[in-house]
Subunit: 142 residues, 2 copies
DNA sequence: TATTGTTATACTCTATAACTATA
DNA sequence: TATAGTTATAGAGTATAACAATA
C-alpha cells in the first residue's frame, strides 16, 4: 500500500474517540474501581444495576460479558460489603435476583459521578462544541 | 437531590462516548487481541510501537501503564512470535530498545485495521455528522 | 433433559521485591 | 548510589468443567 490514504470520516472519528479514552492514564474504569476499593467488574455491575431494578445473575453475566461462574464471586464480594443483595425469584426458584441495597444505591451515585466526570479533552471544548457532540452522539446511539 | 438535574453538556457528551465504547460486547481491545492470539497488552504495545520506531522497555511500561516487570513477559511473548525484537542501545548498555520486525509491522497493520474499524453506532451516522464529529474531536485532542 | 447458580481447578495477568549489570 | 531490565513469587481475575437444585 505504501503511503496510506486518509481514512474515511467514520474511521477517523472512531480513532479519535479511541484516543480520548486511551489518553487517560490509568484508564477510567480501573481508576474509579480502585478509588472505591472495587474490581473493574464491580463497577460494570454498578453501572448496569440501577436503583430499584432486579436482575438475574445470568442476565448480569450477559451484560458485563463474562462467564456465569465468574458472577458468583463478583456478587459475593459486593454482597459482603452490603452494597447489593441476592433475592429469591418468585417465578423460578433456581434464579437469584440481584438488587442494590440502600447503601449500594448511595455508593452507586458517587461511583457514577466519578465515572461520568468528563476528561480534560471533553471539558476543554467550547459549550457549542459540547452541545454539538451531544447531538451527534445521541443520533449515534439512537 | 431527588429528581436529578440534567447534567451539563460536557458530562452528557462523555456519558455517550462511554456508551459508544461499552455497548460493544466484547469490548474492542480484548476482542481484537483474542482475534490475533495476543493479550490486550500486546495490542497496546502494537498501538504505541510505530514501524521504524525504537522504544526503551521502560518507556513502553509508562505508555501502556503497567509495571516494568510485566513488560518483560509481554515483550517475551511478542518476540517469541517474531513480531518485535530487542536491540541494544548504543548509548546505554543497560537499556534495550524494542522495535517491530518486518513481520510485526505487517501484522500491526492488520491489527490496527480491526481496532479502528468503526462500530455500528459511528458507522450509521450521516457523512455530515461523521465529519462534524471528526472536527470536534480534533479540537478536543489538540 | 435443560437451565441457574455454585464449586473446584487451572491458567493468565499483574504488582512487589530481590537480583544483575550497568551507570 | 541509582537505574534498566530480569526473575521469583504471590494475589487477583478469568474460563472450563462438574455438580446440586429446580424446571
Amino acid at each position: 500500500m505504501g503511503v496510506r490514504a486518509k481514512a474515511d470520516p467514520a474511521t477517523e472519528a472512531w480513532k479519535m474517540v479511541f484516543e480520548v479514552i486511551t489518553s487517560e492514564r490509568p484508564l477510567r474504569i480501573p481508576r474509579v474501581a480502585a478509588e472505591f476499593g472495587m474490581s473493574p467488574m464491580g463497577v460494570h455491575v454498578f453501572r448496569i444495576l440501577e436503583p430499584g431494578a432486579e436482575l438475574p445473575m445470568s442476565a448480569l453475566a450477559g451484560s458485563v460479558g463474562c462467564d456465569a461462574s465468574n458472577v458468583t464471586g463478583i456478587v459475593d464480594r459486593l454482597e459482603a460489603r452490603g452494597l447489593i443483595e441476592r433475592r429469591d425469584s418468585p417465578a423460578d426458584r433456581r434464579v437469584k435476583l440481584i438488587a442494590l441495597t440502600e447503601e449500594g444505591a448511595r455508593l452507586r451515585e458517587q461511583v457514577m459521578d466519578r465515572l461520568y466526570e468528563p476528561p480534560a479533552a471533553i471539558a476543554r471544548l467550547s459549550a457549542a462544541d459540547q452541545r454539538a457532540l451531544c447531538d451527534i452522539l445521541a443520533r449515534a446511539l439512537a
